[in-house]
Structures are given as structure tokens and as C-alpha cells.
């Protein structure tokens, strides 16, 4: 039996399940990257400060480590769990695939996670209680563990976009060290360092027992972690050169949203890097709290934009060439086209009070096909809403779009199912459109009247 759309569906009106994942994931990625960069910074800066007798930096690092346990150790950890929770609700089949293929990878990351958390707390609570050398060793352990967790998770994340030969042999390492593994690791390392650099400027400005000169010194040191941003463009080109061809086409203009987000992300990152190099390092400028927060906001947007692109160009798949974004396995498509998608999507049928697709009315059939194939990415009239998307389309266009879904819109999976299911979906969508247009007309009439 095909392993396809076997799960119940989590309905999230207005914002959609995908947006729930996106919100949690972007916050998590920002904090997780910050943790990695902050680990590298504190270990390096403490080592340097010990050698040079820089007591000011040591004092700052002590204060800064408090931010680490108060922000990423809480927000980062809980949003990390939050990603698991939310992806399991929205895409349980994809989550299941990631777990079953990479459980030992996840478990390995968990070991590093534990070492990271314990060493992070020890690092914070033993300032002044261990010798500087020993304390710095704890700092390096923390940095190592945090970075290694990135090294592991990067393999699994990039696997989803560019599994390469894994699709054929389904072997752990083939998927792990996939074509985008190394460029992505470089990109994430740059991102981690830069987020730490920016947050150091924010942190320095929020600590009130430092003079401006003292803050300036700290910000300049932190600014050095922003310099790698200059490598963002070549690293991105390297990354682009290794993603699947269809994904690259989307970035190059095939999907204008992807192109724009990619350009914004890249431009924002590079500009922050250039600002750091010329402003902070060469001219030794000072950054006040407002500017630091602005830089942080730009970095957050850039991180979000790049993550959006990474997720977006993977479409129409959730695991490239293996599983479509609606959870249907690529290998099952032919069978579902012959036997019907609803034959293997029992929950969408059961929810309408039927035991099999034969018991559904034509309208219910369309509704069930919509739930099975469209509802993971589209809401009815909220974020990525289907009603506004098809607004004004003639009936023939809706049908035509379903026929050519994947060829004319390469980020969409093909319609999968029998011709009767396709017709039912087209009619259901037309019904939604009629509702939408009559609602619009009503609201226009009312506003004219008032």
C-alpha cells in the first residue's frame, strides 16, 4: 500500500500550518546560529583576553554569557523542540522520513546538544572559580559542541534540498554529505558568526556599567565576526551551483519571489559585512543601541529571507525527488493516478463522515481532494489563500491549471489522482471562487451604501 497522505490533517485557519513552522523555524535558526557564533566568539575572545590581560573583555564575556543562558538556552532550545512539534503536525510523513532515515544523526546531534548546554551553564557559573585556562577550556568545549551540532544538522537539512544519490540508494552518508553540504556549512558558519557579532554590539549597549570607550572596544572586537559576511556572495554562488537544476532556475527568475528574497538576503548580508569592515574595523566607528538593533533586525530579515529561499526552492518537494510537499511519495504517483488519491487518503474521507470515496458527493469529493493535496500549503482565504489565488479565473483556466500545474508553475507538484477527482477539485475550487467573489461584491456594495 502506498505510504501516502495517511495522516489526519491539522487545520490552521488564516495563517496555515506552513506559516506556523516558518515563524518558529526562523526564530530558532536565528537563536541557534547565534549560539554557535557566540560560542566561537567567547572561546576565542577569552583566550585572547587572557593572553593580553584584557580584563574589560573578560568582564564583558562574563556578562555576555548570561545572555547566552537567558536567550538561546531557553528560546533556542524550546523553539528547536517547537520545530519538531510543528513539522510533525503539518507534515508528519516527511518528519517520519527524516527520523527514520537519520535517527542516529539526530541522536548524535542530541549528544552535542547536551554537552553544549552543560558546558554553557558551567561556563557561566564558574567565572572566577576556575583558573582562566581551565575556564577557557570549558568555553572551547561549549564552542566545539555547539558547532558540531551545526555540522550534524546541516547534513540533514541540506539532504532535504539536494539528496543526490540518496534517492537511488537511500544510504545515510550519501544523503548526509550531499551536494550542498559544504557550501551550506560555510554559509551557516558565516551567518552564525555574524549574528554573534551583531548581538555583541546589542549586548554591549544594554549593559549600563560600561563607559562608551569600553563598549567601543568590545564592539570592535565583536565586529571582527562580521567580516566573513563578505564571503556571502561567493558562498551563495557555490551553494547555487550545487542545488538541483530546477531549484536554481527558480532563484534565477523562475519564481520571482525566490529571486527577490534571495537578492534581498544576499544584499542585506553583504551590506552588513561591508559596514562592519569599513565602519567597525577600518574606521573604528561606534555603534549605539539603536543602530545595533537595526543591524540585528536586518540580519534577522536576511536570515529569514535565506531560509525562506532554501525552503522555497525545494518545492514542489519536501524531500527532493522523494516526497512532494503535500506528502505524496514520488514513486506512488502513477498508482494514485490510476486508483485515485482518496483511495489512499483515508482521513480526508473519514472526516466527511464516509468510509470510502464512493460514498462522497461530488462536492465532498472535491473538498476531500483539496484537503489531501492542497491544504498543507494553502489556506482557504488566509496566508497563501486559495480563494484570492484563483480570483477571476474562468472555469476553463482552473481546469487547465490543474492539468499543467507542475509544468507551468514549477514550484507546484503535479495534480495526482483520477480525472474524476481532478474534475471534482476543479468544481470545488470554482465554488470557492464564487463564494469569494460574492463576498467581495457584498462588501463593495455595503461600502458604497455607507
Amino acid at each position: 500500500m502506498p505510504h501516502t497522505i495517511q495522516y489526519p490533517i491539522w487545520d490552521v485557519p488564516i495563517i496555515g500550518g506552513g506559516m506556523v513552522i516558518a515563524i518558529i523555524a526562523i526564530v530558532h535558526v536565528t537563536f541557534a546560529h547565534f549560539t554557535v557564533g557566540a560560542g566561537l566568539f567567547t572561546a576565542w575572545a577569552e583566550w585572547k583576553a587572557n593572553r593580553k590581560g584584557d580584563t574589560l573583555m573578560l568582564k564583558f564575556l562574563k556578562d555576555f554569557s548570561r545572555y547566552i543562558i537567558l536567550l538561546p538556552f531557553i528560546f533556542g532550545a524550546l523553539t528547536g523542540v517547537g520545530i519538531w512539534f510543528s513539522i510533525a503536525l503539518v507534515s508528519p510523513d516527511a518528519t517520519s522520513a527524516l527520523i527514520h532515515q537519520y535517527v542516529w544523526g539526530w541522536a548524535t546531534e542530541w549528544v552535542f546538544f547536551i554537552v553544549e548546554i552543560i558546558s554553557g551553564y558551567i561556563y557561566y557559573y564558574t567565572w572566577g572559580k576556575l583558573t582562566p585556562g581551565r575556564h577557557n577550556v570549558i568555553g572551547w568545549i561549549y564552542a566545539f559542541a555547539a558547532y558540531m551540532s551545526l555540522v550534524i544538522i546541516n547534513g540533514i537539512l541540506t539532504f532535504m534540498l539536494s539528496p543526490g544519490g540518496w534517492v537511488v540508494n537511500q544510504e545515510f552518508w550519501t544523503g548526509f554529505f550531499n551536494p550542498t553540504y559544504w557550501p551550506s556549512l560555510l554559509l551557516r558558519t558565516i551567518s552564525a558568526m555574524s549574528l554573534a557579532g551583531i548581538f555583541i554590539a546589542v549586548a554591549a549597549n544594554t549593559l549600563y556599567d560600561y563607559t562608551r570607550e569600553e563598549r567601543h572596544h568590545i564592539i570592535t572586537e565583536g565586529g571582527k565576526f562580521l567580516i566573513p559576511l563578505i564571503l556571502m556572495i561567493p558562498a551563495s554562488i557555490w551553494f547555487l551551483a550545487n542545488i538541483p537544476e530546477a531549484s536554481a532556475r527558480m532563484v534565477k527568475g523562475g519564481a520571482i519571489a525566490m529571486t527577490l528574497f534571495f537578492m534581498f538576503g544576499l544584499a542585506a548580508s553583504t551590506l552588513v559585512g561591508l559596514y562592519a569592515y569599513f565602519g567597525l574595523i577600518l574606521k573604528r566607528r561606534y555603534i549605539n543601541l539603536e543602530t545595533a538593533l537595526l543591524l540585528g533586525a536586518i540580519a534577522f530579515i536576511a536570515t529569514g529571507a535565506m531560509e525562506f529561499v532554501r525552503e522555497g526552492v525545494r518545492k514542489p518537494y519536501v524531500i527532493y525527488d522523494y516526497m512532494y510537499s503535500n506528502g505524496i511519495l514520488v514513486k506512488d504517483a502513477d498508482r494514485l493516478n490510476q486508483e485515485g488519491v482518496l483511495t489512499f487518503a483515508p482521513w480526508t474521507v473519514a472526516r466527511l463522515g464516509a468510509n470510502s470515496p464512493d460514498q462522497l458527493t461530488h462536492e465532498q469529493l472535491g473538498q476531500a481532494v483539496y484537503a489531501a493535496q492542497c491544504s498543507r500549503c494553502h489556506t482557504i482565504d488566509g496566508v497563501n489563500g486559495i480563494k484570492p489565488l484563483i480570483w477571476g479565473w474562468p472555469e476553463d483556466s482552473i481546469k487547465h491549471n490543474l492539468d499543467t500545474l507542475h509544468t507551468e508553475q514549477p514550484y507546484m507538484p503535479p495534480f495526482i489522482g483520477t480525472s474524476a477527482e481532478k474534475q471534482a477539485l476543479a468544481d470545488y475550487l470554482k465554488g470557492l471562487q464564487d463564494q469569494y467573489e460574492s463576498a467581495k461584491a457584498n462588501s463593495t456594495r455595503e461600502s458604497t451604501r455607507s
Partner: protein, 432 residues
């Protein structure tokens, strides 16, 4: 109904299922050890704070409990990741479906725990070490207790839904609430909460022992915590046993027959029942012979074994409930040795790193001994990392540049200067 149950993942499992079960049990016990402290400890502090918070010794004991909670909560979350992983490998299709049934209730856990985490820090900064906590502080403790109880209800509900796929269709159709809340549910949940009180009681005693031994200023509070923790632990074990047995007998004859028919896991559970009695006896002994903590440590070890067996019994009951739909043999095993080796190798390295860090912590000196212990008696990791935020912040040494430089050039074998040097000594701060 069977047609609605998702099939096992076609990618299968990369190792025999018993490996995931064993690791799942072990990591779940570790998660429970911390989680129970958070849930039970918050309840204990709340009760003590509201009813007896005017007594200085209890006020101080509450402060000492609260200060250990941020690290404990972090550990509870971190330790929870591994069993979450293994559950998904073994019966993810049931776990995900139950999650989906609960939807936002399930997602609410994240927001609730985040709020509670920050509230613990707020409490630590608000609460004086001694003296009656302010009304605001007491209210926050109450809010946190409500949050952790809610989270425990959500988790118990999810675990219950996993075992009752027959409810899913009605819940999904909106005909039934996803919150089960039947008698069995309340029995199961009460068993969890009483168990949490027992484990938290043992933690309380342990913190008390530590404070008594290494921190002269907390000696009285430490003694009280030791005795009082044992009281909570005994009560918790006793009540958990009673509720646990009633819960077991409400499961029905067939389930019980199957339960007892499974050799290996049933034996594990049965041993844990025996060890629960032994643990209770050891706690009584520790209470009578309060100057002999060996009984306490023996009770801790025995309760750990009990938790392990109970987790096995819990697992067994779940698979019995799922038997009409699924058995572990339905999951294809496609062994992949090198990825398992990656994990095991990393696990060993991780343990070595942890051992190394604990050894380093052992070099941190504690207070002058108060009971004849050797002068170099080390502070244990738990205390060092449990120090309050403000205390740790206050302990930042303002080392002169040259001194820091000098020290860093020295051998790492020497312990750094007294960190409180040049500061006003804080009578309550863990001295370094």
C-alpha cells in the same frame, strides 16, 4: 478503524527495535528525573511558600530549591529530546496522529514552558534568600505550578490518545473533545504527579544534604530540606503506589493478562514494584537515622531502578493497547552500522567530555567544612551550576589585567585566586 491507522514508515529503522527501546527507556528515565523535579519541586515550593513561607528556614529552603530550577528545566528539556526521537522511530505513526488530534493544545506546551522558564528567573531575582516572599512572588510560584500542571495534563493526554486510536475518528470529525479526561486518565495523571512529588522530594533532600555539608550559612535550611524532602518522597511513593495499582486493575482482565504474559518487560516492571517498596523502606530508615545519608543514597539508587522498571511497564502497556493495529515487528529493520557507530562514538566522547568537566568542577573549593570533612572537599557540579544568577553575577572577579595574564600563563593545575577577593562577602553565596 484499521484503515485509518498510518502504516509504518517505508524507510524502516536503521537498527533493531530493541536498541531504540533500551535507549528510549534510559533517556526517558533521565528526562523524568529532571522533569519530576520541576513539576514536583514547583508544587512543593508552592505549598511551602503559601502555607509556611513565614518560617525563615522554609523561606530559605524554598529559595535554594528555586535556584536549582533553571538548570534542571534545561536538563529536562534536553533530556526529553532523545526519548522523543526514539518514540518517533518505534511508533511515530501513533504519536503524530495523537499530536494532530490535540493540535494547538499540543503546541501550547512550548509557550507555557517558555513562560514558566522566564518566570523561574523572575522568581529568583524577586525572592529574598530569607524572609517571607512578596505576594507577587508567591503569585508567580502559583502561576508556575499551574503551568507545569497544565503541561503534565497535556503530556498525559497525548500519551493516552496514542493508546486509543479508536477515539481518533470522532475527535477528527469534531464529535469528541481531544481532551480525554476520563477516570483512567485522571488515575494515570495522579500517578505521574505523585511520582513527581516523590522524585522531587529526593532532590530536595539531596540539595539539603549538599547545603548542609558545604555551605555553613545554609546548614539549618539544609537539615530541614533533607528531612522534609524525605517526607515528600515517602508520601509521593506511597500515594503513587496506591494509585498505580488501582490504575492497573482498572485496565481490564485481558490487558492485565497480556501485561503479565510478557516475560522480559513484565519482569522489569515487577522488579520496579519491589524496588519501590525497598525504596520506601530505605526512606524510612533515612528518616530515622538522619545522620546516615547512606540510606538516602541507597533510596535514590533504588528509585532510579524503580523509574526504569516503571518506564518499561508503561511501554509494555502501550504496545498491548496498540497490538490490534501494530506490533514492533511490523517495522522493517534496515541495519546501518556506521551511523549507529557514529552515535555510539559521539556518546562515548560526550561522556568523556562531561567527566572531564566534572573533574574540573571538582577543583572548585566549597565552604570551610562544617562537619569535619576534609578542607579540599570539592563543590559538586550540581551546586556550582545551581548558583543563582545574581550571586554568580556578583562573583565576577575584577581581575587586574596583569594578574589575569599571569594566571593564564601558569599551569592549569593551580586553582585561581579566591573569586570573592576584594568583594564584600555575601553570607549566603556559595563561597569559591
Amino acid at each position: 478503524m484499521n484503515g485509518l491507522i498510518p502504516t509504518p514508515d517505508p524507510l524502516g529503522a536503521p537498527s533493531p527495535t530493541i536498541i531504540f527501546q533500551l535507549l528510549g527507556w534510559l533517556t526517558l528515565v533521565l528526562h523524568f528525573a529532571f522533569m519530576n523535579f520541576i513539576l514536583g519541586g514547583t508544587l512543593i515550593v508552592t505549598i511551602q511558600e503559601w502555607l509556611f513561607g513565614h518560617r525563615p528556614v522554609i523561606a530559605r529552603a524554598n529559595s535554594l530549591m528555586l535556584k536549582t530550577m533553571p538548570v534542571a528545566l534545561s536538563m529536562a528539556i534536553t533530556m526529553g529530546v532523545a526519548p522523543l526521537l526514539f518514540v518517533q522511530v518505534l511508533h511515530g505513526q501513533f504519536f503524530y496522529s495523537a499530536n494532530i488530534m490535540m493540535g494547538w493544545y499540543w503546541m501550547a506546551i512550548l509557550g507555557l514552558v517558555t513562560v514558566a522558564f522566564y518566570l523561574i528567573y523572575v522568581l529568583i531575582s524577586l525572592r529574598p534568600l530569607d524572609g517571607r516572599a512578596t505576594l507577587l512572588s508567591r503569585l508567580i510560584v502559583l502561576v508556575n505550578a499551574a503551568i507545569f500542571i497544565t503541561v503534565s495534563l497535556i503530556f498525559t493526554n497525548n500519551a493516552t490518545l496514542v493508546e486509543h486510536p479508536e477515539l481518533w475518528a470522532k475527535i477528527h470529525a469534531g464529535e469528541l473533545s481531544p481532551l480525554v479526561m476520563d477516570t483512567k486518565f485522571w488515575m494515570r495523571w495522579s500517578h505521574t504527579v505523585f511520582g513527581a512529588l516523590a522524585v522531587a522530594g529526593l532532590w530536595c533532600s539531596g540539595i539539603g544534604l549538599f547545603q548542609k555539608r558545604y555551605h555553613a550559612a545554609n546548614r539549618e535550611a539544609g537539615e530541614w530540606m533533607y528531612r522534609n524532602g524525605l517526607y515528600w518522597a515517602k508520601s509521593g511513593v506511597f500515594l503513587a503506589m496506591i494509585v498505580g495499582f488501582i490504575y492497573l486493575f482498572t485496565l481490564g482482565g485481558d490487558t492485565l493478562k497480556n501485561f503479565m504474559g510478557n516475560g522480559f518487560m513484565f519482569v522489569g516492571w515487577a522488579v520496579s514494584v519491589c524496588t519501590a517498596f525497598v525504596g520506601l523502606a530505605l526512606m524510612v530508615m533515612a528518616t530515622i537515622k538522619k545522620d546516615q545519608p547512606k540510606y538516602y543514597w541507597a533510596a535514590v539508587a533504588v528509585v532510579f531502578i524503580t523509574l526504569f522498571g516503571m518506564v518499561m511497564g508503561r511501554d509494555l502497556l502501550r504496545y498491548i493497547a496498540l497490538e490490534p493495529y501494530y506490533t514492533l515487528s511490523d517495522l522493517t529493520v534496515r541495519p546501518h552500522v556506521s551511523s549507529l557507530a557514529l552515535f555510539l562514538g559521539t556518546f562515548v566522547i560526550g561522556l568523556l567530555i562531561l567527566a572531564y568537566m566534572i573533574r574540573l568542577l571538582w577543583t572548585v573549593p566549597g565552604d570551610p567544612p562544617t562537619d569535619g570533612a576534609p578542607q579540599e572537599t570539592p563543590a559538586a557540579a550540581g551546586e556550582s551550576i545551581a548558583a543563582p544568577v545574581e550571586e554568580a553575577a556578583a562573583a565576577v572577579p575584577d581581575e587586574p589585567a596583569d594578574e589575569a595574564s599571569k594566571v593564564s600563563d601558569q599551569s592549569d593545575d593551580s586553582v585561581q585566586k579566591e573569586p570573592d577577593e576584594g568583594e564584600e562577602p555575601k553570607p549566603d553565596a556559595p563561597q569559591a
